[in-house]
């Protein structure tokens, strides 16, 4: 068999695999288009350094980067379901004297803890950089406490969401693509990269419907702003708490699937 025929067969096999993996097919195309629309519009119309405090865009980015750390950590933590499933360890855990929910809860709490600690590490490093000028309007300790609560709620929300996705998508590649397809746009119109105040109305609507916006807003009030935030702390807490516990509980309802 010639090398050309072998390459052709491999090409055909991989193309078939992508066509069968619809999540990979669509998200690869949709994600760049969504970023083009959302990020492009945001930067063109919303990003003016004079709109952020003292024109200090680096400091402005800190709350968004903390949210991003939680987001990535949740995605990676939930990917461990696939590792455990593929290694066979998941079936060993499911055969232990515990219900599947206990196993899921343990793994989800691990994801929340890891995500929370990583986000706090980002905050600690950012706070230690001299060029970063955090406001700490409520004081450093209360500000850290407030940020920690926001991070915990975000981690619960995102880990719950990731668990729901992981229970429905068969492959780890598909899982990552779906997470990217959903979470990157959420991140970009959450106010993490540009202030929400001066965005066009349609992006403001999307930002208001975006749970991540409330997390970023809460973090911004805790460490960056000297005001009450875009939504206000009570609304931030209400939305984040309700969604975090609802999604986390939903995630625990999803059976990881038993493979013998």
């Amino acid at each position: 068999m010639s090398a050309l025929a072998a390459c052709g067969a491999l090409l055909q096999r991989d193309v078939r695999a992508v066509l069968r993996s619809r999540s990979q097919l669509y998200s690869t195309i949709l994600l760049p288009l969504m970023l083009l629309a959302i990020l492009g519009t945001g930067v063109s119309q919303g990003l003016d350094p004079t709109l952020v405090r003292d024109g200090d865009y680096a400091t402005f980015l800190v709350p968004g980067m903390i949210a991003m750390a939680v987001l990535f950590s949740s995605t990676f933590s939930s990917a461990s379901y696939y590792r455990d499933r593929d290694s066979g360890l998941m079936r060993v855990m499911l055969a232990s004297p515990h219900s599947p929910r206990v196993i899921l809860l343990g793994k989800a709490l691990a994801g929340v803890s890891i995500g929370g600690l990583q986000a706090l590490a980002v905050l600690a490093v950012a706070a230690a950089i001299p060029a970063i000028d955090l406001e700490w309007q409520h004081g450093v300790i209360p500000g850290i406490a407030l940020a920690a609560i926001g991070i915990a709620l975000l981690a619960l929300l995102l880990n719950g969401f990731a668990q729901v996705v992981a229970s429905r998508i068969r492959t780890m590649q598909g899982f990552h693509l779906v997470m990217n397809l959903v979470l990157f746009p959420l991140l970009f119109f959450s106010g993490a990269f540009f202030p929400l105040e001066d965005l066009p109305a349609w992006l403001k609507v999307l930002a208001t419907a975006n749970p991540l916006s409330y997390g970023v807003d809460l973090l911004r009030v805790a460490i960056y702003d000297d005001g009450s935030g875009y939504f206000g702390l009570p609304l931030d807490f209400a939305v984040l708490t309700a969604l975090a516990f609802a999604l986390f509980a939903w995630g625990l309802q999803r059976h990881p699937g038993y493979h013998w």
Partner: protein
């Protein structure tokens, strides 16, 4: 032949470690989604595969009990139902005197057919996690882990990553994990697949130790020699049903010394009847294209067979009779028969 065909081989005075009565289970599987569907929705069709079909079985306490059947006969499904990880569509399951539950699982050790280890954990971490899941902790857990690693010959690798172990070592680690919570019932699903004879012998030596300390062992296998050598009782499972149950000696009681497997697609029925009447010939079973028969002496039988067959025989296999021959005699199919596999 002293074979109990009614699945009540356990003496009434011995409490069964596991009992199943009229057990049925069907898998509802989905076909793979078709490529390029414009709707984005997977086109799937449901099909049902009957894995167990009214199985009734008693496993006596303290026994090493074999479930012998070809791949897809329902052995692994039965194990998953005993552990309570699947629910039967009909019938009743009792394990250690109770219906399967999380509490019962604390008293069961389970060795899966395929390796079930996280390659990025060390051996000690692997056992520690398992011990914690089974309620062990502190000094007791640490000591038990050290003792088990020593007993399976892996003490010097305690802090190595699982990914650095050979296949045989991984199996030994999994055996240590099964034994860690001192289970009263050990379920083994094809435990020696891929092991060399030395590793297989070492694994069984450790399992017999556990059996001597009171653990009941249920072995699901399609390896005849393994069931014959290690099991006090064997159940033949065929297409989700119990075909026979007894000790290996009871199951083999009707067999002659030599087994002859003949590939003979066009065997005339009248000739089959004639062969069955030959002196020194035991039960003759015909399952197209295979003629199976046990005989007193293959050296006398085979030349006569060729003479009678002229050129109809395509292949012939001769060996000492084993449980596989008893299986073929009773079930009418080979252990390698995978028709109806799930």
């Amino acid at each position: 032949m002293a074979v109990d065909m009614t699945a009540t081989a356990a003496p009434p005075t011995i409490k069964p470690a596991a009992q199943v009565q009229g057990l049925s289970f069907a898998y509802g599987a989905r076909t793979a989604p078709s490529a390029g569907s414009p709707s984005g929705a997977s086109e799937s069709a449901k099909r049902t595969v009957q894995a167990l079909d009214g199985l009734t079985l008693d496993v006596p306490s303290g026994a090493v009990f074999g479930l012998l059947g070809p791949n897809g006969s329902g052995k692994s499904t039965l194990l998953s139902l005993l552990v309570g990880l699947r629910q039967p569509s009909a019938g009743e399951v009792r394990v250690l005197g109770q219906p399967p539950s999380a509490a019962i699982r604390a008293r069961i050790g389970l060795l899966f057919q395929e390796t079930s280890l996280d390659p990025l954990m060390t051996l000690r971490e692997t056992l520690w996690l398992h011990g914690r899941l089974y309620g062990l902790a502190g000094h007791t857990l640490r000591t038990t882990i050290a003792q088990l690693l020593e007993s399976v010959g892996l003490a010097d690798r305690a802090d190595s990553l699982v990914s650095t172990l050979s296949g045989g070592m991984k199996r030994r680690l999994e055996l240590a994990r099964v034994l860690l919570p001192s289970p009263q019932l050990i379920l083994l699903d094809e435990p020696t697949t891929g092991l060399d004879p030395d590793a297989e012998a070492a694994l069984w030596a450790r399992l017999h130790e556990a059996n001597q300390t009171g653990a009941t062992i249920i072995l699901a296998t399609n390896k005849v020699h393994e069931a014959d050598k290690h099991c006090q009782q064997v159940a033949f499972i065929h297409r989700g049903r119990l075909a026979a149950q007894g000790t290996p000696a009871e199951l083999k009681a009707g067999l002659k010394r030599d087994a002859v497997w003949v590939e003979w697609p066009d065997l005339p029925p009248t000739l089959a009847d004639e062969i069955a009447a030959w002196e020194g010939v035991g039960k003759l079973t015909w399952a197209h294209p295979t003629l199976h028969v046990t005989v007193d002496a293959a050296s006398a039988f085979v030349p006569r067979l060729f003479q009678a067959a002229e050129d109809g025989i395509r292949a012939i296999r001769i060996r000492e009779s084993t449980l596989e021959d008893a299986y073929f005699d009773i079930v009418g199919a080979s252990l390698s028969d995978q028709r109806g596999a799930v």
